[in-house]
């Protein structure tokens, strides 16, 4: 019996606006509770909400970038439910007229391009934070403290259609969305800070069934790792239930990070009635053509557009995907350097391998300004032209990270230029063969791994100035 999992993901993205969604309070990052508050975000009697234009620009940009149709005459609704950290006991959100509908995001899964369809993109305000004492969860807490710093922070909710088929695809989608909001500069996109928070709706059905199975919502996944694990766990759990003809209950389940299991939070059978109605404190959200056009003009190169450009250089989908999710300067450095070297593979390897590694080791987040694509291509070219060894290239790079200098001059000054004169090399090869007769015999008897030892001897006696591949070729010819 083949089982088909279907997954939909709801993601909340915290925008990086200076002020909150409906008041002038600063969005703050602080350990001190209740620092950034006013009558509006504290829900005091008589206080009113005024929409943050910057947030509406941000969500419009995101909806356009996710290929959504824009609702030109939208509105805010009140979502009514009681909770201690929700100051008004309703959340200002959007219901049937969200900013964006029917969009899609391209993702790369392994080497394949896939499309994740987006159902809606809507604007809402965040709640405060409950800090449960004595236990992390409300049911077993001895007391609860409330921090309203987060109350009213603008959130964008992005809901996919139930189209995702695996945990890997889900992870890939979140990575894509995260990169998108970073590139659009509308969110810090830091998962560890809760800038992106996601819930997954998972159902499993027999392949022979033509409809979706019972939907179970999973909450409390704080990282991509927990997203992947929780989905895998839940698919397994539901599959087992179906196989043993047991009933799956439509419910919300909590991902337990320590035990790596999901457990029931609440049943959806008596599901909450949020009594949505248009918020009478807020006028309709009219997005004019002019407003939308102006936003369109400010949209930077999107991750999918970056990948298209990268693929043109000959990179594979996964390599392009990697660079599209790297920092802007790495992406640009690759494109500029590749143009100069015309060698996609070496350029990709040097930048994503050696350069990023060395920078990390040196504790540097950015490239020194003198380390230009010209200098980098100089190194790559010297390696490609066998003027220096790859090892020497690495050495030059290490020094170039610390000091401004010319790679070729450095190579000359430090005797890194390889001797590519075959006669000269031939002499050395002959010497090595003569002084290692025993090893040579064993090679001839079939112990091929000893070739490496001989090559090493050749390079050693040339003080590292011989191109290893040339040395090997000559050695094999002699033998």
């Amino acid at each position: 019996m083949n089982m088909v999992p279907t997954i939909g993901i709801e993601t909340h993205v915290e925008l990086n606006t200076n002020s909150k969604m409906f008041c002038n309070c600063a969005v703050v990052e602080t350990e001190n509770p209740n620092e950034s508050l006013c009558p509006t975000c504290l829900g005091l009697p008589g206080a009113l909400p005024v929409p943050n234009l910057k947030a509406i620009e941000s969500i419009t940009m995101l909806a356009l970038s996710a290929n959504c149709s824009i609702t030109k005459n939208g509105m805010f609704h009140r979502k009514n439910y009681f909770y201690p950290d929700l100051p008004k006991n309703y959340q200002i959100s959007q219901f049937d007229l969200p900013v964006g509908v029917n969009g899609s995001l391209e993702i790369i899964l392994n080497e394949t391009k896939e499309t994740v369809e987006i159902e809606r993109v809507h604007m809402e305000e965040d709640t405060g934070k409950s800090v449960h004492k004595g236990s992390g969860r409300i049911d077993s807490a001895t007391s609860t403290l409330l921090d309203f710093n987060r109350s009213g922070v603008p959130l964008v909710e992005i809901v996919t259609k139930p189209v995702i088929k695996s945990s890997k695809e889900a992870v890939s989608y979140i990575e894509e969305l995260r990169q998108l909001v970073i590139d659009l500069k509308i969110s810090e996109g830091k998962l560890e800070k809760g800038n992106l928070r996601f819930d997954a709706n998972i159902s499993v059905a027999k392949e022979s069934d033509n409809e979706l199975g019972v939907k179970v919502e999973i909450k409390n996944m704080n990282s991509l790792r927990s997203l992947e694990k929780a989905i895998d766990y839940e698919i397994k759990r539901q599959t087992k239930l179906i196989e043993s003809n047991e009933v799956i209950i439509q419910e919300t389940r909590h991902w337990d990070e320590d035990k790596e299991v999901t457990s029931s939070m609440r049943s959806k059978e008596g599901s909450a009635d949020y009594r949505y109605f248009s918020d009478p404190d807020l006028p309709n959200m009219i997005l004019t053509d002019e407003f939308i056009d102006n936003i369109k003009k400010t949209i930077p190169t999107l991750p999918s557009q970056k990948r298209d450009k990268l693929s043109e250089t000959g990179l594979s989908n996964s390599e392009s995907n990697y660079l599209s999710k790297s920092e802007e300067w790495i992406y640009n450095l690759f494109l500029e350097t590749q143009k100069l070297t015309n060698d996609t593979k070496s350029t990709f390897n040097l930048i994503t391998g050696e350069l990023q590694g060395q920078l990390r080791k040196a504790g540097m987040e950015k490239l020194p300004e003198w380390l230009t694509s010209e200098k980098l291509s100089e190194i790559i070219k010297m390696i490609n032209e066998n003027k220096i060894s790859f090892t020497s290239g690495k050495e030059i790079l290490t020094n170039l990270i610390q000091n401004e200098m010319s790679p070729s001059k450095y190579a000359e000054d430090n005797n890194l230029i390889q001797d590519n004169d075959s006669d000269e090399i031939a002499k050395i090869v002959k010497n090595v063969i003569d002084s290692n007769k025993e090893v040579v015999e064993r090679v001839k008897d079939g112990e091929e791994k000893l070739v490496g030892f001989l090559v090493g001897q050749i390079i050693k006696s040339s003080k590292g100035n011989i191109n290893p591949s040339i040395a090997k070729d000559l050695l094999l010819k002699e033998l």
Partner: protein, 484 residues
């Protein structure tokens, strides 16, 4: 000098000419309040010390010849659902009996900057829900014309203080008639401005799409002065309008429509006759008066009692005992909220929250709230169309003069009917004013209501001033004289 008979502009001129001091006026209104409060209970709080201090500062400004405005030193009372910094805002509810506001409403800020003296906070029906102040958790206000009668509501306290002279003017709020109906019952002027021309920031919301702050005064001119000092776009209120006011005829060229449906069944003879009397005066003045029909106004009450409770059910959710107000213990946070709300809200408030929650519930939304929204748009359209034919509409403000205590508490529908004529203006968002016209057989005040197109507030006030002159009704309650 009997200040109660002076208008704001007269007082202001006396101040400027140094013939009268703000502290003297304040002293007089405070004396009036001290005398009348034991009978009418119109104030929830008097700011004696603070107001005395403020009046002396105002004295100094006039002394130096630099008053802050034409209303500097005018004593004004505030309905207790409008936030005044560092004072209680109780909304006449047990729920907020201990709540002290940390901020000023926008209208308060404006008045403060103009040098107004705040005399105190006035009584109302709990959270402005009611038509008699009988729903106040702190006891009802009595009508200064006859304490056996209600002062109307919900701004009953604000109307009573102006009527009795314990403030020169007051602010009220009007969701379905809460300024005009009590003004009518107490024989004073009550003006509900165009929705969005006065900021709602700091007014504790009852039904956000209907609520509007406005003045209650002794004369139309006073209402105009007060309105001009509180109106204007407010960046803190997203529903406040940026467009400026528009003008329509205010002289004998002004054409007046009599709303047929508001002159028929349910309207007492006494109330109808006041409208007829005014029509006669208008015609004599040369104005054209025609009968018009607004059939949908008959549905106004039903529409209102879906929209207002629906909005209030969400607006009053915030009162949960978590952050402010009273708190009743419970073994879980939800139980604490439930107990707090059970204890903190009065019967009428609970009734409306339940009604609104029901109207918004899944499966009922389309039939109730959704339908009410559609009908509301239709009424608004009807008004727009009728205003293509006439400049103003005239009707009674209330179907009857002030009724007696307890007379309608047993029958909520009858109580709701007292807002029959005032509710349509709230649904359509248009300005409306109640002007006193005479006395009933029982010596209770009678009035008429005038309505005009959205954003013609200044014209409406100007036209009302001329009608007020034609009516020349200027009787006051003799409550204080009788006491002295």
């Amino acid at each position: 000098m009997n200040v109660s008979n002076l208008s704001i502009s007269e007082i202001s001129n006396l101040y400027k000419n140094k013939e009268l001091k703000p502290s003297e006026v304040y002293e007089e209104v405070f004396t009036n309040a001290s005398l009348s409060e034991s009978i009418i209970h119109a104030h929830l709080k008097l700011f004696q010390d603070e107001a005395t201090e403020a009046s002396k500062l105002s004295d100094e400004r006039y002394e130096k010849g630099n008053p802050l405005s034409d209303i500097d030193g005018i004593p004004i009372a505030i309905k207790d659902n409008i936030n005044l910094k560092n004072h209680e805002t109780t909304c006449s509810s047990k729920m907020l009996s201990n709540y002290v506001s940390p901020y000023d409403a926008t209208v308060i800020k404006k008045l403060r900057n103009n040098g107004v003296i705040f005399t105190g906070k006035t009584n109302l029906d709990e959270f402005a829900m009611g038509s008699s102040t009988e729903n106040s958790a702190f006891g009802p206000t009595k009508n200064p014309w006859n304490p056996e009668h209600v002062p109307g509501g919900s701004s009953g306290g604000s109307a009573a203080v102006v009527s009795v002279g314990s403030a020169v003017a007051s602010l009220g709020s009007d969701t379905g008639g809460s300024i005009r109906q009590p003004a009518s019952f107490c024989g004073v002027v009550g003006f509900k401005p165009t929705y969005g021309t006065v900021s709602r920031y700091g007014l504790v919301a009852f039904a956000s799409s209907l609520d509007q702050i406005g003045p209650i005064t002794n004369s139309v001119e006073d209402a105009k002065i007060l309105y001009n000092s509180i109106k204007g776009h407010d960046p803190l209120d997203a529903t406040s309008i940026k467009e400026s006011l528009v003008e329509i005829p205010t002289d004998k060229n002004a054409k007046v429509g009599v709303v047929k449906e508001l002159m028929e069944e349910g309207i007492s003879d006494e109330s109808r006759k006041e409208v007829e009397k005014t029509i006669k005066l208008l015609k004599e003045n040369g104005n054209k008066v025609v009968e018009v029909s607004l059939p949908l106004t008959k549905m106004a009450l039903s529409i209102y009692y879906l929209i207002a409770p629906a909005e209030c059910s969400a607006n009053l959710s915030r009162f949960d005992g978590v952050r402010y107000g009273i708190r009743e213990a419970g073994s879980t946070s939800y139980e604490m909220m439930e107990n707090t709300r059970a204890e903190g809200f009065g019967e009428e408030v609970k009734k409306r929250i339940l009604l609104g929650t029901y109207a918004l519930s899944a499966g009922y939304y389309d039939a109730y709230y959704g339908q009410a929204l559609k009908a509301r748009s239709a009424i608004t359209k009807d008004f727009e169309n009728i205003f293509k034919e006439v400049d103003y509409l005239i009707s009674p403000t209330t179907p009857t003069p002030a009724f007696k205590f307890g007379e309608k508490t047993e029958n909520p529908l009858e109580m709701y009917m007292s807002d029959l004529c005032t509710i349509p203006a709230n649904l359509a968002g248009i300005p409306a004013i109640s002007i006193p016209t005479g006395l009933s057989k029982q010596d209770m005040p009678l009035s008429i209501q005038l309505m005009s197109p959205a954003r013609t507030d200044s014209s409406l006030l100007e036209f009302s001033e001329s009608i007020e002159k034609l009516l020349s009704f200027n009787q006051r309650t003799s409550l204080l004289e009788d006491m002295k």
